[in-house]
């Protein structure tokens, strides 16, 4: 009696997670993004081993060109600081700020989006007004103002970027949660007596995750860019080296020694590009998967 039921068309298909990763790796652009990102992570991880000294210390002759001195493969800036060391140590700051700021943004965005989309009505209206308020203020100026008020440090910069970048995500999550809240999945959970928290965290959010994962990678990229811009303007943490700060420091010698600004600039481009490629790849892979068969 059970025979006709056991013949499932999906028998041949392997597990959901395997296929997602597998399909991601088969996309050249996503693979490139992953490789670049892995390279930057490796730089951040081995910064202390590869370049043990403080990257802000004067290390050699100022304004050495790349390749001029074998001890400084990427050259030095006008203060004689090792650019290669700065790039490696700067990767830590960029990834740390990018990652944590994106996390802050995800927590606020998912929290507000989920509450708004699930409960609707008055809660939704109130939370969406707050979201719109954040959306109407230009995010970079907002971040700039917050950092200027709070005094620049890694913690304040991270918090400021996180606080100013969640509004788009909140709207995205809200739309997804609204869709799922009215689905039979949520209905079935309600009928089985599940609590609101359980329905949101166990049944709705995991199914709304695909677009969130995609925007998370873009959030990290944006946070890295924002941090670089702040540092370039001199509002970075003065105690750590950062790519944006290096570009800012190289500004004065850009006519005579463009490599001082260009090298950290390329690092920023590569990091942001890697995250965008990954985001695009994830978008393609997760969205086709999300379509109803």
């Amino acid at each position: 009696m059970a025979l006709p039921e056991t013949i499932s068309l999906s028998q041949a298909r392997t597990d959901f997670r395997d296929t997602t990763v597998g399909r991601l790796l088969r996309r050249p652009s996503a693979l490139l993004g992953l490789i670049l990102l892995a390279g930057i992570l490796a730089m951040a991880a081995f910064a202390d081993i590869a370049f043990s000294g403080d990257p802000l210390d004067m290390a050699g002759m100022p304004l050495l060109r790349p390749g001029e001195d074998a001890a400084f493969p990427l050259g030095t800036d006008m203060m004689g600081r090792d650019l290669a060391s700065g790039i490696f140590h700067g990767a830590r700051v960029s990834l740390l700020i990018g990652g944590v700021a994106a996390l802050v943004s995800l927590v606020i965005g998912i929290g507000i989006g989920a509450l708004s989309g699930y409960y609707g009505g008055r809660i939704d209206r109130a939370l969406m007004r707050v979201t719109e308020l954040f959306q109407t203020i230009p995010p970079f100026l907002f971040t700039l103002a917050l950092v200027a008020i709070l005094q620049p440090s890694i913690a304040t910069i991270t918090a400021a970027i996180g606080i100013t970048s969640w509004s788009g995500l909140a709207r995205l999550v809200r739309a997804e949660v609204m869709r799922l809240r009215n689905s039979e999945l949520a209905q079935a959970s309600i009928i089985l007596g599940a609590s609101d928290a359980r329905i949101i965290f166990r049944h709705i959010l995991p199914n709304a995750l695909a677009p969130v994962i995609v925007s998370a990678s873009i959030l990290v990229a944006t946070a890295i860019l924002t941090e670089s811009s702040l540092s370039f303007l001199g509002l970075g943490d003065p105690n750590v080296v950062s790519w944006g700060g290096m570009v800012g420091a190289g500004r004065e010698t850009i006519r005579t020694d463009p490599h001082v600004a260009a090298i950290p600039g390329v690092a920023i481009v590569i990091a942001v590009l890697a995250l965008n490629l990954l985001g695009d790849g994830l978008n393609d892979v997760l969205n086709t998967k999300g379509e109803r068969r």
């Binding site: 009696m1 499932s8 039979e184 089985l192 609590s195």
Partner: protein, 335 residues
């Protein structure tokens, strides 16, 4: 379980009215509906789309979606009026004392959790047992809904199961809290005919084994006729006839019921070349909620309708073991 059909109804609906609040006022969708089900009994609520049967099903769990709301009546489950309970109390009742299964088992299962996890969750929601105990119970439930190789299916995701299996899983989840009443809203409509019969057979077996009362909502009279004890026919929000299944098919009293039975396609009506009969149909359509006639809602489509039908809503009258709401009930069988 030795005496599955007890005397006392486990679910008693009395004068239930549900309306939709619109700008043009309250539009009644279900009107003064009364019925009851005893333990181990299976009742079918039959009617066309829009007759209020699914709304009734949701009302039994206190889940009428806005802008709809219950405007009157009581739903007593084991003596307690569900409509008077607050949300927290309702949550404790749902899944534990009354549960429901749906038409589309794919969209009702969570695609990111395994079948086993979902059944365990349904158990843990109502009982503070250990995860290990819940796991054992979940496996037993999979076995009870006749899923072969439950150990393997336990760890599988819903997309790996066929439609029939998914519906079995839904039934297992619905039964996790050992409810007194199971509401089944068109649970076989999305399935193949052969699987339909299996699922119906399963529901039938389970209610006999466990004494669960079943309210079976369907638009297809033929599907349920083999399994249910009683049939309640709804038309435009009202009960028009409620009879024992055998009586209803042998001698339908309401012209609408007669139309429904006549409209059943019959397989094997004769070999090729034999006289072919055109499938009977009921002329016209269900009146819109906003344009309900003053009298019998079926009058505009009814061959027997006269002045009385247009003016007064027919009251429900005893007819043998059941009830019928028609001025002309049993007058003539020629429609």
């Amino acid at each position: 379980m030795s005496d599955p059909v007890s005397r006392e109804p486990v679910l008693a609906v009395d004068g239930l009215s549900i309306g939709f609040q619109t700008r043009r006022g309250l539009l009644p969708a279900v009107r003064e509906l009364s019925f009851s089900v005893r333990s181990g009994e299976m009742l079918a609520i039959v009617g066309e789309s829009g007759c209020g049967k699914s709304l009734t099903a949701l009302a039994l769990l206190g889940l009428v979606p806005p802008p709809g709301r219950v405007t009157g009546g009581t739903v007593r489950l084991e003596g307690r009026d569900l409509l008077a309970l607050d949300e927290a109390a309702l949550r404790r009742v749902r899944g534990a004392r009354i549960s429901m299964i749906f038409q589309e088992p794919m969209t009702a299962l969570n695609p990111v959790l395994t079948v086993g996890e979902q059944i365990m969750e349904a158990i843990l929601e109502h009982e503070p047992v250990s995860r290990k105990a819940a796991r054992g119970r979940a496996l037993a439930l999979l076995e009870r809904v006749r899923i072969p190789d439950p150990e393997r299916r336990f760890a599988e995701y819903p997309h790996r199961l066929s439609g029939g299996m998914r519906q079995r899983v839904m039934i297992a989840m619905a039964l996790a809290g050992a409810p007194a009443v199971l509401v089944a809203d068109e649970p076989t409509t999305a399935l193949d005919v052969t699987i339909q019969a299996q699922i119906l057979g399963l529901i039938d077996e389970l209610r006999r084994e466990q004494g669960t009362a079943v309210v079976f909502i369907t638009h297809d009279l033929g599907v349920v006729s083999r399994y249910v004890d009683r049939v309640l026919v709804m038309y435009a929000g009202r009960k028009v006839e409620e009879r024992g299944t055998r009586d209803l098919f042998a001698d339908p009293l309401h012209p609408y019921t007669r139309g429904l039975i006549a409209a059943q396609p019959r397989a094997g009506a004769g070999p090729a070349g034999a006289e072919r009969q055109r499938l009977a149909e009921i002329p016209g359509t269900v009146p819109a909620l906003a344009a309900m006639p003053a009298g019998c809602a079926f009058a505009p489509r009814c061959a027997l309708a006269d002045e009385r039908c247009v003016q007064a809503v027919p009251p429900a009258r005893r007819a043998g073991s059941g009830l019928v709401a028609c001025h002309h009930a049993g007058e003539t069988h020629a429609v």
